[in-house]
């Protein structure tokens, strides 16, 4: 059996996926922290422990993500957009577009029927369209980031935000709390504001269904519903949306390992 791995060092989280052939056998997700080199080793070690393997058992490793250069034990690095496309293709072969909402950036891309990215847009200049926006707000509202999705769905009276800027939204949220607005209504309004940013990107790129939603943002059910509402279509969301790029990297590593094996 050939074991391969994909590792994705993101701005907020690091992920490792271990595969046996074309099957996922273990994965691990942990905060990236301040030392990417160390985190890369740790996240890989933890995934390997879950798989009951050691680094020597891995035939090929591909690194990706913002901090890919910090992965010393990989045999190659591939751009995050290619890995994301491959990961989406692995999970949802019918998907022709995907939205990736990460900690720092949001990407929207199209992919062909072989899982290759054909066009993409990246929001890197502004925090308002990214997971960072929700982090900022979760801190203000003093709630756990993982709880905001469910809470937002309880909203009966959504607060409309006038701003598309994360900094101004923070102060607007503070003012609305002072006026007595419910947390869920504020969250629903912020999800709406974030969804509007994503919608603008989606419209600019001009996508066709099926569309997947991946990245940490996919774990926020309030955000998922809000984007679905904005785009007027349902989205394919994986069970573990955060590991998609690492999964794509592992899948590519599998191909590399197979190619090495068959070459004379």
């Amino acid at each position: 059996m050939v074991y391969v791995a994909g590792i994705d060092i993101g701005s907020a989280f690091s992920k490792a996926v271990v595969m046996a052939g074309n099957k996922i056998i273990a994965y691990q997700v942990k905060p990236s922290g301040g030392n990417y080199r160390l985190t890369a080793e740790q996240v890989m070690e933890e995934a390997l422990t879950k798989a009951k393997l050691s680094l020597e058992d891995i035939g090929y490793t591909i690194a990706t993500g913002y901090g890919a250069v910090n992965v010393s034990f990989s045999q190659g690095a591939v751009s995050d957009i290619s890995c994301l496309a491959r990961g989406v293709y692995y999970l949802f072969p019918t998907a022709r577009a995907a939205i990736d909402i990460g900690g720092q950036f949001t990407r929207v891309f199209k992919l062909d029927n072989r899982g290759r990215a054909t066009a993409f847009l990246l929001s890197e200049k502004c925090a308002a369209g990214s997971g960072r926006f929700l982090q900022v707000i979760a801190k203000v509202l003093q709630i756990d980031l993982k709880d905001i999705g469910k809470l937002s769905l309880k909203s009966r009276n959504r607060v409309d935000f006038n701003t598309g800027c994360a900094v101004f939204a923070e102060s607007e949220a503070v003012s609305r709390i002072a006026e007595g607005a419910a947390k869920e209504d504020i969250l629903a309004g912020l999800h709406r504001a974030l969804a509007a940013k994503v919608q603008t990107m989606v419209e600019r790129l001009g996508i066709e269904p099926d569309c997947a939603l991946v990245g940490g943002g996919g774990k926020d059910i309030g955000l998922v519903r809000s984007i679905e509402e904005s785009l007027a279509c349902s989205l394919l969301v994986p069970e573990e949306p955060q590991i998609v790029a690492a999964l794509g990297a592992a899948s590519m590593a599998g191909e590399q390992a197979a190619a090495i094996k068959t070459s004379p």
């Binding site: 502004c126 925090a127 994360a166 102060s171």
Partner: protein, 283 residues
Amino acid sequence: MKSQYFAGIDIGSTMTKIAIMNQALLASVVGPTGPEHRKLANEVMEEALAKANLPFEAITYVVATGYGRINVPFADKQITEISCHARGVGYLLPEVRTVIDIGGQDCKGIKLNDNGQAVDFVMNDKCAAGTGRFLEVTAEELGVNLEDMGRLSLEAKNKVEISSTCTVFAAQEVVAKLSAGAPLPDIIAGLHEAIATRIYGMVRRLKIEREVALTGGGAKNIGLVKALEAKLGFPALVPPEPLLTGAIGAALMGRDIVKQAGESGTTLPRSERRLQEVSLFTQ
């Protein structure tokens, strides 16, 4: 003729400013607006009246301007901040043709004609980058008082380049630079450079003409003033109290209205007004 008094109140996103004038400036107050304090604009007015030693009834006309001008129950008229800033700058610095106003939550460029009237403007109130908020957020991240940023940046030896436009990302970037060992003054100078680039990029669309005045809280920051002057390529003019131009302009607009009414013999369009709390939103 009995002497007439005029009040201008400029309720900004961050600061509330009041000017009381007759022929000259009699009294002024600059106080924080804050999320709660906007309601207390009447108290700021009382403070200004006490300084001028006048009762509220002695004020002939009150003009409100700024972001929070809409719901001021003790104003006779609301006038946009663009017109009031233009009037105020035209009065204080008649040679000015371009105003760059850097507020707490927005930034404006205003083009003036030879009569000191606003003929064109550009404005950013959508994004915190290029406004006072950018410096407020990054100063907090650096653990530096906002008031000290200007002075500190003048000690810079090697300005650090800040590549983020977004305030949120810039705040992260400065922390990374600081932990990488960059000296504080060099980082702050980099922040001033970043905000000056953003502001200049916007105001340049107006075709900047000399003289240029800098107003708003941003004009109190010597580092930002120097950074903007470097972009302009010539020195800018800064009024003695750069926060007050809008309020002074508002008071002068009130004076103009009263004068016109007197000349044309029409009755003054004055509303039923009370010195009471400002409501935050239209009910």
